[in-house]
């Protein structure tokens, strides 16, 4: 069963979380990226995500396999939206089940950081003033940048 995929419709976290239930798991960490109403000082109206689908899904699977191997978590799932999104919509969901909480948090955060830096997905923001732009970040700073 694949663990990473792109979704062109609203993400429903409930079945994703349910997939990760496991009697060996003491910890479940999840992350949601939401479209917020501002970015780098500009008022955002909405956005569009576009992807190189085949490569994005292959790279996403590699990230999750690597994460599970690296941190020893039990299982993980990640899905990322493509298409048009409004303020408040979920752009990305990452969930991880693990024996202990440290593992669950570390794995979840690492997957998210890697997806942001490696997976060929691009954000096109529309601003309230009518302009719009592709985001091609200069450098990924996993501690400071937004979702």
């Amino acid at each position: 069963m694949r663990r990473f995929w792109l979704s062109d419709a609203t993400i429903d976290a409930t079945p994703l979380r349910a997939r990760l239930l496991d009697a060996r798991a003491g910890a479940f960490a999840s992350f949601e990226g939401w479209v917020r109403n501002h970015n780098e000082g500009q008022s955002v109206d909405g956005l569009r995500y576009e992807a190189y689908v085949a490569l994005a899904e292959a790279e996403g699977e590699r990230i999750i396999e690597e994460a599970l191997r690296r941190f020893g978590a039990i299982d993980a799932v990640c899905t990322h939206r493509i298409g048009d999104l409004a303020i408040g919509d979920m752009a990305v969901w990452v969930g991880v089940s693990a024996a202990h909480r440290g593992m669950a948090f570390d794995t979840c955060r690492w997957i998210l950081d890697e997806v942001k830096s490696r997976v060929p997905i691009w954000k096109h923001e529309r601003y309230v003033d009518g302009r719009s732009d592709w985001l091609h970040p200069r450098e990924v700073d996993p501690t400071a940048s937004g979702e």
């Binding site: 990322h80 096109h124 592709w134 091609h136 200069r138």
Partner: protein, 80 residues
Amino acid sequence: MATVKLLYFASLRDAAGVAEETLGTTAADLRALYAELRERHGFVMPLERIRVAVDGAFAKLDDDVRDGSEIAFIPPVSGG
């Protein structure tokens, strides 16, 4: 002379005006091919910020341009 299929995404697609095209090229490697495309489409994105994928897998800019391959020059990503 290699014939390749090129895929464009995000700002590169906007600049190229097409999502894909098939092209004959004599470029020695992928680096040279990108230089050729910058000329052709007026791309402003410098090579240092670009990654490249061939047939759906990340590749190196030093790799040869293989006839019949599908090539994507990938500008900095912004998912998440």
